[in-house]
Amino acid sequence: MAVPAPLELAAVTKRYGATLAVDSIDLKIPAGTYCCLLGPSGCGKTSTLRMIAGHEIASDGDIILGTANITALPPAARGTAMMFQSYALFPHLSVLDNVAFALRMRGTGKAARHAKARALLDLVDMTRFADRLPAQLSGGQQQRVALARALITEPQILLLDEPLSALDPFLRVRMRAELKRLQRELGITFIHVTHGQEEAMALADLVVLMNGGRIEQQGSPRDIFNAPRTEFTARFMGGHNIIRNGDATIAVRTDRMRIGPATDGRTATVSEVEYQGAWVLANVETPDGETLAAMITEAAFDSAPFQVGDHVSIGWDADAAHVLA
C-alpha cells in the first residue's frame, strides 16, 4: 500500500449560495489515524468529507495531503478513495468486476486487475462471492465489497460516509471492529463520518466534533469525554450533567456523582431509579427544578439504597467538575 501521508485542512470553507455549510475549519490529521468526523445532521461533517474526497470543491481554503495541495484535484488524482453511504455498487457488474472497476478505467489488463481484485476480496473475506451480483448479497457483504473496491487504488486516505448506518445494530458492532482491524492492518488514514458518539468513541484515534459548520472540539475520545469544553460537547457526548454552579456552568460525568443521605450539600428528590446491571441510574430533582442523573455502582447502591420519592443529598467529586465555556 502507499506510504501514508498527513492531511491538513487550512481555513476550508464551503458555501452553498448564501448558506455557509463549513465555516473556515482548520484540522490536522496525522498519517495512519482513524479519525471520526462527528456531529448532528447538518453540522457540515459530510460536506467536509466530500471536499476531502473531491466530490465538492472547497469555496475557500486549502486541503494539503503530504506535500501536495489537492484542493482542486479530481477525486481519482488525490490519493483518496470514498466508500459511499449506500455503498453504490454497480448493479450490473459482478463483485469481482465491481472491485476491479478502477483498474479497468485505468486500462489495466483483465488478468492483472482480476488478480488484484481477488487479493482485496480475500482481505475482506469475500472471495467466495466473487461471481455474485450485488443484489445477491446482504448489507454487510455489500459493505465489504464496497470497501474492497475503494481500496483497490491503494489510497492514502479512505473516506467513509456513515458506513455503518445501513446495518442492523448487531452487524454494526461487528463491522465496527472489522473497520478498526482493517485500518490497523493497512496503516492508512480512515476518515469516518458518523452522527453516533458511541461509534466515534469506539473507533477513533481522533474525534472531531462539529457543530454549525465549525469544529466544536477535537482530540482523543477520552480527552473529549473527560474534558468537554462546551455545553454542546458535554451534551452531545452524553453521560454528563450540566450544572449551573453560581456564575459558572460546569459539566460532571454522571458516574462521578455522589448520592448520600439528606444531610449535607444540595438536597434533591429521587424521581427515578433504573437498574442497568453493573450500574444503577438515578434521576433526582433539585428544589430549583434541575434534573440530575447519577450512575452509581450496584455495590454502592446496595450499601445505601434509596427509592423514588426519597430525599437525598447530591454532590460530586471536586476533581470531576469541568467549567464550560
Partner: protein, 302 residues
Amino acid sequence: MTRLKLNTVQQRLSAGAISRLQALPMAFVFAFFFILPLVLVVIVSFWDYNEYEMIPAFSGRGYTDTFEGCAAQLPELCTILKTYAKTVKLCAVTWALTLLIGFTVAYFLAFHVKSRMWQITLSLLCTIPFLTSNVIRMIAWIPMLGRNGLVNQGLQATGITHAPVEWLLFSEFSVVLALVHLFSFFMIVPIFNSMMRIERALIEAAYDSGATGWQTLRHVIIPLSKPGIVIGSIFVITIVMGDFITVGVMGGQQIASAGKIIEVRLNALQFPAAAANAVILLTVTLMIIAGLQRLVDIRKEL
C-alpha cells in the same frame, strides 16, 4: 353478512387462485382482441381465393403467389424481397436515428436538468407533436420540404444551391425524417425512465474510481439504460415495420413497403394473400425483436 361470505370465499381459495382470478378480465380482453384476431389472420392466410372471394379451403397460394418467380430470379432479388429489404433498411435507419436522438434527449433530461419541475415541463414539451394527428404532422412537412418549400427557398436565397433540391421530399430522406420525427418520443420515454432509476451515487462512485465522462457513459449509464433502450426499440421497430401511411405520404407513393403490400392486397380483396403477408411481416418483426431480446433479458431487468 357480505364480509362473512367474502371471508369464507377467501378461505376456500388459495392466494394463487385469487391473483389468477384478478387477472382474468385482462386476460379475456387480451384473448378476444389480440389472440383471436391473430389466430384468424393465420387461418385465413392458408385459405384459397380467386378474383372476388376467399374460399375456405386449405391452400398455400397466399404465400406462393407472394413469392411467385422469386426462386427463378435468384441471386437477383425479386420485387417482393426488395420491398422487404427496403422496409428492413428504413426500419434500421429510423431505429438508429431515434435511438441516438432518444438517448441524447433522455440523457439531457435525466442528468443535466436538475430540477424535478423542469424535467416534467421538458418531458411534456416532447409530447407536443402528438397534439395533432399523424397525417397533419406529415402533411406539414410538404410546405417545408417541397420544390418551392421553405428549405429550398432558403437554400437558394442564401446562394447555397441554384436549383431546387429534389430529394428533400417524396424520397427515402423525407420518409426517414418523418418517421424519426414521429417516433423519437417512443425512445425518449422508456430510456428516460431507465435513467431516472440509476442511483446518482453510482456516477460519483465511477468518478471516484477515475472514470472519465465517456467511460462512465459506456460502463455505467449505457448498461443500466439497456432495459429502456430495448423497450423503446421494440416500440419503434414494430411501428415502423408495419407502417404504410408515412411511407406512402412522405414517399409520394413511390416507395414500396411491407405494410403497403398488405394494403394493396386488401384493396384487391385478396384477403388470404394479405393475411399471408401480415404473417410474414409479423415473423420478420418477431425475429428482429428476438435478436434484441438476446442482447438483454428484459424480463430479468424489469
